[in-house]
Amino acid sequence: MTALLARDLRLALRSGGGAATALLFYLAVVVAMPFAVGPNAELLATIGGATLWIGALLAGLLGLERLFQTDHEDGSLDQMMLSPVPLPAQVFVKSLAHWLVTGLPLTVMVPVFGLFLGMQETAIAASIATLLVGTPAISFIGAVGAAVTVSLPRGGLLLSVLVLPLCIPVLIFGVGAIRAAVTEPDPFLPPFLLVTAISLFFSVLGPFASAYALRQGLD
């Protein structure tokens, strides 16, 4: 299992891997936002949390297409099916590796990107917290989409269409929690805990659904 994690991390960090691309894409989204909003610092700060979340969601989807596709193309997926390690556990590890090279770096970069967006310290802190617990859900939900589209050429578009609607609750409560952190009477904890719950729920359901889809998609 650690072997699989180590291999996926190594591949992601090598040239042609997805890690740097996702981070650059995230940077591009965040940097483009002030230009789109125009010279209104207050508005920019208000929508800062939303921008960070939309960026994280789209950047997270970027590399997902390749999550199982490369293994399918070079025959590794066949070998994974023959492994004594249960397939859902393998999917969990691959999703975790995806999060470690996309979700986690994006979260770590929030203090910098939050400054670009003129956000307050509390909002930045809340963004870090919600992205930390919320981005795993993107990887785990995305794994299901990746498994369903594994043998389709140009499956990436279908994957986004499948995965984005399922990620909407994470987005709603994630951004909601950030807004609640800076708006006085609204409590931060309930939406934050809901995001956490969604992540935990999909960290269990995702690997099993994904493994089922992979087995059905054998050809």
Binding site: R10, T70, D74, D78, L82, L218
Partner: protein, 209 residues
């Protein structure tokens, strides 16, 4: 140990490719699956390895070795298909080390396995830099770093030169002597000392109509 196939039927899409196929392979024996293109050779091999669902029938192991007592049929199988299951971005050594750590029942060291396939000293070379034949030989080395009694080989010698073919034949004979069993689909003679044959053409005719 015996591998028993009983009344195996496999569909691809709506078409029945294999229908009610029954045979048995004994320990230490090799079965060569023959048939024209599209006869269902690869389908049969993938179905045995559990890589394709079967419509009906059973795939059983009788008297499985003690170290594999709890394993399912796919976990007893090494499958060498058209692809070598190696990552182009990683070195030969990294690739083999991954499969060795991942697939359980570790057998030969990576150096030894590479030595046997005649590619010793290539550990640090990226897999992408190898020729087709060399890649195949690394794929064959993968069969050696973990021990699995059943080798399922789909055109195993494609891309190999005459010397490597001979080397691979010797390797298969050793595997059979050690009590393994081999099921291979091929058009060319593999150089096995003794092998049973299964002709798939009739099955395919039934399947097509």
């Amino acid at each position: 140990m015996r591998l028993q196939i009983e009344n195996l039927s496999v569909k691809r899409g709506e078409e029945l490719v294999l229908s009610a196929l029954s045979f048995e392979v004994q320990q230490g024996r090799a079965l060569i699956v023959r048939g024209h293109n599209g006869a269902g050779k690869s389908t049969l091999l993938r179905a045995i390895a559990g890589l394709l669902p079967h419509e009906s029938g059973r795939i059983l192991i009788a008297e499985s070795p003690p170290e594999f007592a709890a394993a399912s049929v796919p976990q007893l199988c090494h499958y060498l298909g058209g692809d070598n299951a190696m990552k182009a971005a990683m070195s030969v050594g990294e690739n083999l080390k991954f499969w060795r750590d991942f697939s359980g029942q570790t057998h030969l060291e990576i150096d030894e396995a590479l030595d046997i396939v005649g590619l010793d000293g290539l550990q640090t070379v990226p897999f992408a830099h190898l020729s087709t034949g060399q890649r195949r030989r690394i794929g064959i080395a993968r069969l050696l770093v973990n021990y699995r009694p059943i080798w399922i080989l789909d055109e195993p010698t494609s891309g190999l030169d005459a010397a490597s073919e001979e080397q691979f034949a010797a390797l298969m004979n050793v595997h059979l002597e050690d009590g393994g069993l081999i099921i291979a689909a091929t058009h060319v003679p593999l150089g096995l000392e003794s092998a049973d044959e299964l002709e798939l053409s009739e099955v395919s005719v039934e399947g097509n109509h």
